[in-house]
């Protein structure tokens, strides 16, 4: 924080704390001196933490040359509550509701990632119907997350209100489904180690099927309004382009990675759960720019609908909880496990070390949106300040997960 303030001080004295001078990690960026009589001064802007376009309490220290970004440093931690320490101080099961609060748009996939890691740690099988329910809920979560993202992205480009409300109308329908199944719209706390908490009644599956069958229609309507829109194209095409080599090296995952053309979807690569049974395609982008990131999400939603329709056709009857699964007094044998799934935002993983007691010895979350922010500066350099808002919107961050 103080490193950025030093340039404001202009040699008037030491800043509030002695932080060593900082060199840009991306290497290539040449930043001219802040005070330059010939070219004019650079301007340092602190965007956030209370800025409507930063999607939460996220802050960017942006250095501007006119309107062009020459340096950008994200500042984290405003929502930090040391979730990992909380996880080490409670039982395995008691961490499940906390995972809802990570990426609070996608509690179902967070639950699944955690349940998967614990199941790996304990060697716990999952009954077939529960696997189907997990896929259904995960794909519904993907639908609602990508719908929200498209709405927020348009809000960030300045299409104030209307597209976001269209998106939220659809999201609310999915949240209604979640509420009637789990009792809560957003904090679902639904998965358990070895299955799901409650079974989904037939009527619920019918309602969900109806919603999914009508979703393509909504997407058609949304796309007719947005995808070919000239203003959206002008604001997003060629903006914030990301090279595939950098994306791989920086650990970018999810739609943001696939927008650069790298074919890596954990549903296909790991084939966790029962994903190998479904036929779906992995959409890939070509340019890695903001428009591609938007388009990939729209295409992924159409693939999710295909997965959902197959799952509704094939879901078997049966128990949703493994009969031998232990809920109370759950103590996995000593060892460690890393479990990961393809969340809507990217690879969400949990790394757990057990020492044979009721609490995990180490509980680590691999947060996709935190790691996806690694390349924020690389994507923003040379762009205008207004584009930084759009680029950030296309990364799709949720601060509950970034700061943990």
């Amino acid at each position: 924080m103080s490193a950025h303030h030093e340039s404001f001080a202009g040699g008037a004295g030491p800043g509030p704390s002695a932080v060593p001078p900082f060199s840009p990690s991306s290497g290539g960026a040449h930043v001219r001196p802040v005070h330059d009589a010939f070219h004019g001064d650079l301007l340092e802007v602190s965007m956030g933490p209370h800025h409507p376009s930063t999607h939460g309490v996220f802050r960017m220290m942006v250095t501007l040359d006119g309107e062009t970004i020459v340096k950008l440093k994200p500042v984290f931690g405003y929502l930090h509550r040391n979730h990992e320490k909380l996880g080490e101080n409670t039982t395995y099961l008691a961490s499940m509701p906390y995972t809802d609060r990570l990426d609070y748009l996608c509690s179902m996939t967070n639950n699944w990632a955690y349940a998967l890691a614990v199941e790996k740690l304990a060697g716990q099988p999952v009954p077939e119907r529960a696997e189907y329910l997990r896929v259904i809920l995960a794909e519904l979560t993907r639908l609602l997350n990508h719908t929200c993202l498209a709405g927020f992205l348009l809000q960030d480009t300045g299409a104030s209100g209307t597209p976001l409300m269209y998106a939220f109308r659809e999201r609310e329908k999915i949240l209604d489904l979640f509420e009637s199944l789990s009792g809560s719209r957003m904090m679902c706390n639904y998965q358990r180690f070895g299955g799901c908490r409650v079974d989904a009644p037939t009527e619920w599956l019918d309602r969900a099927r109806q919603l999914v069958d009508g979703y393509n229609e909504f997407l058609d309507e949304f796309e007719a309004l947005i995808t070919g829109n000239e203003i959206l194209m002008a604001r997003t095409q060629g903006v914030g382009a990301l090279k595939p080599e950098l994306a791989v090296s920086a650990g970018i995952t999810g739609p943001m990675l696939r927008a650069t053309g790298v074919d890596y979807d954990i549903r296909k690569v790991d084939g966790y759960g029962i994903y190998p049974r479904f036929s779906f395609r992995v959409p890939l982008g070509a340019h890695g720019d903001t428009y591609d990131r938007y388009m990939i999400r729209v295409l992924e939603m159409r693939e999710s609908i295909k997965i959902l329709q197959q799952a509704f056709r094939e879901i078997p009857a049966g128990p949703v909880m493994d009969a031998k699964a232990k809920i109370r007094g759950f103590k996995p044998k000593p060892g460690e496990a890393y479990g990961r799934i393809e969340g809507p935002k990217g690879e969400i993983g949990f790394y757990l070390i057990s020492d044979g007691t009721t609490n995990p010895y180490r509980y680590r979350i691999r947060p996709p949106s935190f790691i996806n922010l690694t390349v924020l500066e690389d994507m923003c350099l040379g762009q205008s300040i207004a584009d930084a808002v759009v680029i950030l919107g296309s990364i799709d961050i949720v601060l509950g997960e970034v700061d943990r």
Partner: protein
């Protein structure tokens, strides 16, 4: 995908003097890991990334683990035959030894081009003091940049060669490393000292006193 033992043998053959050992994972997941010595860690990491046999181009997860000093009790049972020809006795010998504490950095590597993994590598520090270092792997995988900063922030491992090693989640002025097992929480995180003594001195240095106002002479009484 080569097995961990094969990777270890190749690494030892390629980097003479490198310490590479397999850490077994007794759990159900059986994700065993490679423990690398700090001296050759960067070179081995680059080799793991670039060699066509692995191509581990994607470093997914970086994290720290704290292993405090602990006492290990070992019981050695030695059968002693009875010289008189009766049934032998078993003598139990209890030895305790102190295993020194250390911090660990764990990296989960995958290959995006070969679509396999994970290979788990671990690095261990020499101790648990506030000044322990490990080589940074950020020059090898850019994804370590923020995650190593997080490990530095929460566990207190300094990564040599990291381009921008600052606290990331806690604020810059924070002292201590909250994810260490022996971390004691303050009673109140948001306590701020009242402005006197040292704080006041700092404030004075920061805001020089305003020039004294001209004294008023006379005026209404």
């Amino acid at each position: 995908m080569l097995s961990l033992a094969q990777i270890r043998d190749l690494a030892i053959a390629r980097f003479p003097g490198a310490e590479v050992t397999i850490v077994a994972n007794p759990g159900a997941a059986a994700q065993h890991s490679l423990l690398l010595g700090a001296s050759h860690a960067r070179a081995i990491a680059e080799w793991l990334r670039d060699d066509a046999a692995h191509r581990l181009d994607f470093c997914s997860n970086v994290t720290g683990v704290d292993w405090p000093e602990r006492e290990i009790v070992e019981i050695v049972r030695t059968p002693v035959p009875d010289p008189a020809g009766g049934p032998g006795k078993i003598i139990e010998q209890k030895t305790t030894r102190i295993q020194p504490g250390y911090l660990e950095a764990v990296y989960h590597l995958y290959s995006m081009s070969r679509k396999d993994g994970p290979v788990v590598i671990r690095l261990r520090t020499a101790g648990r003091t506030d000044d322990v270092t490990l080589p940074s792997l950020t020059p090898v995988w850019r994804s370590c940049e923020f995650q190593e900063r997080e490990v530095f922030d929460l566990f207190g491992i300094r990564f040599d060669g990291h381009p921008d090693l600052r606290r990331i989640l806690m604020w810059d002025e924070f002292t201590g490393h909250p994810m260490r097992k022996d971390y004691v929480e303050p009673d109140d995180y948001e306590w701020e000292p009242t402005p006197h003594d040292e704080v006041l001195k700092k404030a004075r240095a920061h805001y020089p006193p305003a020039p004294a106002a001209p004294e008023k002479t006379g005026g209404p009484k």
